[in-house]
């Protein structure tokens, strides 16, 4: 790349400070991934359910244009703002929510040295940004002035306190193992053995907490259709609903990236044809995150959903214990000198 002098717009885009928020893992790839993952979710579910799923919208591509058609439909449908809502919150809430849910990607590095914010606590930054969104969500749920929305928002609030602790504890367990809070160092440390093999307990706790955080089955509690219609997004239509839907998938996208970096070795192991620096190792991250997301959406076709009290109980009883055990395992590994 050094031999070739790129014209300035391209070199500007290739700068990590621009590339990461805007292209990958930022907006462009995020949008494409969302379209893909929604299609994949519907197709996988259909496969388990012994049917075709979306098909005729683009026959040759197996209906891959379905999320696009839905998106266009939403853009061109009427934006209803119910009379009794708090208009400001109703309109700007979803946008704020989407912004907050996409913000954590700026902390995600693509390779050693290729990162938007070079910080030795980037892991903490990402986790801190991840857990802001639910607070905005509560606000949105309140602003809709609808009982179902409110119940959905409250459920999300309840769950928030039960998944955040396991998330942070299992992350801490890994941080203790790698002796670092820098995502680059963490990923580099997994060049030999992936975190998921070092501390499977932490990986399990994090994965389950991730399911609760992103509202995937069996923890699709805040949007439980047959109980509270569409939960906190009941009153939304058109583009704002699309943004809400995007938010829930964006949270999944971000968490999957975090899982990849902390537990699945990030860009390791690099295949030979990829350079070890620059932005191309990001491809490995993308592939792994897609696999994680695929697994998350596949659960839709397998599990019913839990009740909210059961979700909270699982968070506090099972995942909390599990993540504490993960910390103990990490300490044991480090203290015994097996690792580190």
């Amino acid at each position: 790349m050094s031999a070739l002098v790129a014209p300035w717009p391209i070199s500007l885009i290739l700068e990590p400070e621009v590339f990461i928020p805007l292209v990958y893992p930022g907006l462009v790839v995020l949008t494409l991934t969302l379209l893909g993952i929604i299609w994949l979710e519907r197709k996988l579910t259909a496969k388990v359910q012994r049917r075709y799923g979306p098909l005729y919208v683009a026959r040759k591509l197996g209906g891959a244009a379905q999320p696009m058609a839905d998106g266009i439909k939403f853009v061109f449908s009427e934006q209803i703002i119910p009379r009794n809502t708090d208009k400001l919150v109703f309109i700007f809430g979803p946008l704020l929510l989407f912004t907050f849910s996409i913000l954590p990607v700026i902390g995600i590095p693509l390779s050693p040295g290729y990162t938007a914010i070079a910080s030795d606590i980037s892991l903490l930054i990402v986790v801190a940004l991840v857990v802001i969104a639910p607070i905005v969500l509560l606000m949105v749920a309140w602003g809709s002035n609808n009982k179902f929305s409110l119940i959905g928002g409250l459920r999300d609030g309840y769950l928030m306190i039960s998944y955040e602790v396991p998330i942070i504890l299992s992350i801490l367990a890994m941080a203790a193992l790698y002796n670092s809070l820098d995502l680059i160092e963490i990923a580099e440390a997994q060049a030999g053995t992936w975190g998921i093999f070092l501390n499977p307990l932490a990986a399990l706790a994090f994965f389950a907490a991730m399911l609760i955080a992103t509202g995937r089955f069996p923890f699709e509690i805040a949007e439980a259709e047959t109980e509270i219609v569409a939960g906190w997004t009941t009153e939304y239509s058109s583009a704002l609903y699309m943004s809400n839907m995007g938010t829930s998938y964006t949270r999944m996208y971000v968490m999957a990236h975090l899982f990849t970096l902390v537990f699945l070795g990030g860009w390791n192991p690099l295949p030979g044809f990829l350079p070890a620096s620059g932005l191309l190792p990001g491809l490995m991250i993308l592939v792994k995150s897609l696999a994680v997301m695929g697994l998350m959406v596949l659960l839709r076709s397998i599990y019913p959903r839990f009740r909210v009290d059961q979700g909270v109980r699982i968070g506090w009883h099972k995942l909390f214990t599990l993540s504490m055990a993960a910390i103990a395992l990490s300490v044991l590994l480090v203290a015994s000198g097996v690792w580190g």
Partner: protein, 191 residues
Amino acid sequence: MGQKKERVILLGNLENAVRKVGTRLADMRPIRNIRNWGITFSLWPVPLTTACCGAEFAATMSPRFDMERLGVLPMASSRQTNVLIIEGTLTRKMAKAVKIIYRQMPEPKFVIAMGSCAADGGIFWNSYNIVRPKDVLPVDVFIPGCPPRPEAVIRAIMQLQDKIKRKLKYRMDAKERPRKRARRQRVSRGV
């Protein structure tokens, strides 16, 4: 709450102007085609079952007929849907609910009346508690049959798609909906 001054995002005529420009833009050629393509393959019905035809509608969603092939995906809240399928007889009590639900849906929206009862009463023609959907809503497609077979439901959806592709006039909101539309409906014949 009553005392509170209403907050408006776009003030006065600006909002109106934006609406007009938006409508005009959305009706121009390439945009119109893209829009119609999107709507055609994204007909999301309301989860409303008015009577027993719902059994056949559910069968249409089942793996054997799989409505999702055509992009039809039943959605939870009426705000996020654009097709109202009246599944069978419409009773007086339900008709009121249906009216509210229709008003809750965003434009552009379509109505399919399923079954003989929804067309003209069917076997319950002389009941004291039914209304004809065509008196309540502007129906786009009728499906004959008591109950219609799932194939007929799929056919109706394809007819609706055809209709959207050919002649969908775009409205940004439901304020001035012409009443005449109720009379212009087409009855689908035969299966």
